[in-house]
Point group: C2
Chain length 129, copies 2
Amino acid sequence: MIASVAATSRDAGDVFVALADPTRRKMIEQLSVLGPVTITQLTEVFPISRQAVTKHLDTLSDAGLVDTERRGRERIVTFRPEPLHEAIDWVAAIEARWDRRLAALAQFLAAEANDRQPSTEPTQEGISS
Amino acid sequence: MIASVAATSRDAGDVFVALADPTRRKMIEQLSVLGPVTITQLTEVFPISRQAVTKHLDTLSDAGLVDTERRGRERIVTFRPEPLHEAIDWVAAIEARWDRRLAALAQFLAAEANDRQPSTEPTQEGISS
DNA sequence: GGGATATGCAACTCGTATGTTGCATTTATG
DNA sequence: CATAAATGCAACATACGAGTTGCATATCCC
């Protein structure tokens, strides 16, 4: 099951890059409320040129966060929330590792307090150089 | 309740900026597994100079994702997962808005299908220009 | 004390992200 | 059909991020 990886081969990092810019975050906020809008309509909301908006949309598109569709002479931009899960998954994995490490450390300390022969050492308490 | 805002006044955007760089994400992954390490120890893991590592740590520190503490001639770097929640909260808020909008749209369409007098319109179906 | 180790500070290069402006192209419309 | 509207394409300016190197400072250890 290779599924869930788009054809244009995005990267989880692309989502973070897309979210790193405040203007793009505001764009996503707008799109999540307004629903599908035109590039020109979206430009009216921001104090930057239409071309700047288009570039931001390109970045959001690379991250899979927006989907565009030509309709006559205008282009409809639609928000796509799915890639946000990739970001959340990464964050969740980090927190899981951290919690696991803390648990292992707590267990190690408890074992050391009871006994003087710790059988199960935590993965690593810092690097032993 | 102004609480939970650090003294150095971070921004939720700082977290996204910190996570936007692949090297910094790998640093966080390392820190979440290794636990507190020295700058020099952390540098040994990456193919970049110590100064480059320090700059990344500064960015992570600005985001509140790491905490450093001087110990003798060395500096101990510790991972701080708390700010990650700010990022998750932002994402969750966006998804909530989107879902709310979809629900309102579905309700609107259902009402229009049954009756010809939609009483409760969705917030907005695109911009009516 | 003196050398080795760990870090801090500053200047510099290089690439690219952000934004602009000008012009061309396509489509809708009176 | 002629014009306005919406967008695409390309060149340009500017700022900042990522990384490097050189040197200074502080601390540990023999």
